[in-house]
Symmetry: none
Subunit: 126 residues, 4 copies
């Protein structure tokens, strides 16, 4: 379900957060579905349970999952909220990218054209 890329510069807990968030966002993990336990997932990925714990804490803080004492962790049903936040993040990144493009002397038309091509490419790739 989840795999870790040790070559990735980002910390492991962040990779796990992102993967689970993606799965929840794409609807591959349904609301109220139970996640693997901290120990189980830790064993599965051969990493420290603390790292899983940290990822679950952060996901709970973000409202992606909720914890029930003695029972486990479950997918929250406010997927729409999460999605909105992701969209906001994307727009922030897009803003930074536009600034870089501007500094590099790329025209708006050039950027939009490229954007269109890349977006359509993506469409076909699925």
């Amino acid at each position: 379900m989840i795999s870790i890329d040790y070559r990735d510069r980002r910390p492991i807990y962040e990779q796990i957060i992102q993967k689970l968030e993606d799965l929840a966002l794409l609807g591959l993990l349904k609301p109220d579905e139970q996640l693997p336990s901290v120990r189980q997932l830790a064993a599965e990925l051969s990493i420290n349970p603390n790292t899983i714990q940290r990822a679950y804490f952060e996901l709970e803080r973000r409202g992606v999952i909720y914890a029930v004492k003695g029972r486990g962790n479950f997918i929250s049903d406010n997927g729409e909220e999460v999605r909105k936040q992701r969209v906001l993040e994307l727009y922030t990144d897009l803003e930074a990218l536009c600034e870089r493009a501007h500094k590099l002397g790329i025209s708006k038309e050039e950027l939009l054209e490229r954007c269109t091509v890349l977006f359509d490419q993506n469409r076909g790739g699925e």
Copy 2:
């Protein structure tokens, strides 16, 4: 000429690299123009000379500046090549962003619209 933002999570040397690269790319620093010396800039910014050294070293590796022992550091004149590489990097980042947008269900029209707005914002910001 350069300022450091200690709230910025990026390391200091990276901030310096980016600032100087931007200045060189925008043509505000002309080819063969001399940069402040390692010690001088360190004193100016109240940071350790090693940190400046590291930034200058990386800039030299990237071909943005060149160092002459006993004389100082100077802006390189192959700014155009550096720019081309930066453009390629930007397009790679744009591709990743388009993929994210696609996953989030953002339509192409929505993305292009946003792109236009952000780009123009940037224009006005100068």
Copy 3:
């Protein structure tokens, strides 16, 4: 595994880079194999950890190794790409050498003969 030659005029960190790159290129260090930690290698060679750090940093930049925060440094698996780049560099150096030979009035036959001898010597040296 690694030794430093203090009579060598090249900086220590460069010697380390070369040694490790050679080992990786020759396949004596397998992909995903863990390297000695920065502190450990520093202690082993009786030099400063910063110097090792610098070498590892450069090796990572070259794609020879990859670092995982909190875990260590590991041999990268794109050895073939690195090798190709090294071959290109070697041919560039060979070109400069041929030019020098030409200026010194060395005939092509003389150069090729010498090349053959040196190459075979190398073969026997192992």
Copy 4:
């Protein structure tokens, strides 16, 4: 007669040494021909006289030129000796290159072939 490349990583005095040695070797500077004075050359190149002095000292040590107190510096007539030493240096470099080639898994045939091509290229380039 001589030009300095400040982008070159080698120290200035070394560049001057090499240039003059080359000129002597190629016979463009005849035996007993007088070199420009330290001050004159320093002024011409807009660099410190100490740097020229250092280059001349080294050239005298190598037997390329000889100094006459109160008169100036002159080209030595043992050009053949200098050439021999240069050839030795080249062979040393060739040896290192052969070792690198061997480590990279380049076959002898491959190297010789490349050598031939590059040498002939050089021939045509003149």
